[in-house]
Symmetry: C2
Subunit: 192 residues, 2 copies
């Protein structure tokens, strides 16, 4: 049901749009959620959403609060060719988790995903809509399943290193982990 009668532009409006957008993206998925529906739910004009957040895609990024831009990361991943992408992915991923300014928001996304259905749905939609399609720019024998297994390798190591804090994994340098994990990520992308 649309809530009406609220003046656009008041100080809570931005938060109410984000709440409505979070509910819509989680309930309907990214593709089926609409700015029109979110606007109706937040009791604002659709134009105001565009004014505050830009496109539907930018609104989605604001909802998930993912601290890294997947398109910029992909540019860097491919900067030395697909044959070095595995090591690049490992290094960029671990560097983002090492820096507190990005680690804290990444942790918040993971915690929400592991503890609430809404958080899980939003992260799945984010990766599915924002990250996996980028991988079409890579040539290789990989499948979505292989990319997801590679993501599992990196996410699992991040959790054991930064959250559970296993002694050896916590003490390892990024260089050491890039040597260990890079070839394995590469194998998912281009190897057997």
């Amino acid at each position: 049901m649309a809530r009406t009668g609220r003046r656009p532009g008041n100080e809570d409006t931005r938060g109410e749009i984000l709440d409505a957008a979070r509910s819509a993206f989680a309930a309907f998925g990214y593709d089926r959620a609409t700015i029109r529906g979110i606007a109706a739910d937040a009791g604002v004009d659709p134009a105001l959403i565009h004014h505050y957040f830009g496109s539907k895609k930018e609104l989605f990024v604001s909802v998930v609060e993912f601290p890294v831009d997947p398109e910029l990361v992909l540019q860097e991943v491919l900067s030395e060719g697909i044959e070095n992408a595995g090591r690049k992915i490992a290094r960029i991923f671990l560097t983002a988790w090492d820096a507190p300014a990005t680690r804290e928001p990444l942790l918040a996304v993971v915690r929400a995903a592991v503890t609430t259905d809404q958080g899980a749905t939003l992260l799945r939609e984010f990766i599915t809509v924002m990250v996996l399609p980028l991988m079409d720019k890579l040539d290789g024998p990989y499948t979505k399943l292989r990319l997801q297994a590679a993501a599992g390798q990196m996410v699992g190591v991040a959790i054991l290193r930064y959250v559970i804090q296993f002694e050896e994994l916590k003490a390892a340098s990024i260089d050491e982990l890039v040597d260990l994990l890079g070839p394995r990520i590469q194998g998912y992308l281009t190897g057997e």
Copy 2:
């Protein structure tokens, strides 16, 4: 401070012992936590803890509520030799996550570990005390770091398959995932 004057054997005693044990294992680690200290904190006689829970190790297992016995798993992992251990580990791990009776407690352990420092400490202690030493029975070029990276691969895939529920990873059969992940786990154990 020891709480005293509570009668041993009342219906809350078991829960109070578990609470005291959880605090002690998280605060001091497994090795430095003592049955005597836990008994004092719970206001019971140490003999009562042994009566209810058995050894310190068994008390720790009761605290963590880990639904799988690592020693039994290792016997099965090694039942076809170290050269098949990677596929065995992948199959046993995924089978435990597939069955709701074990998946729910595993999820509870992961959720507690990702959202609370106490949960993270208890899981780290459990794996460090109960699982990693078992690996000494394996011969191979692995290190604790390599074992932790292998654990990261499996934990990450479990989270993406069962919690985030990525479409392809969720739809894959256990056989398909054993083919994909088994050789990679094996590589951590015995390969380069």
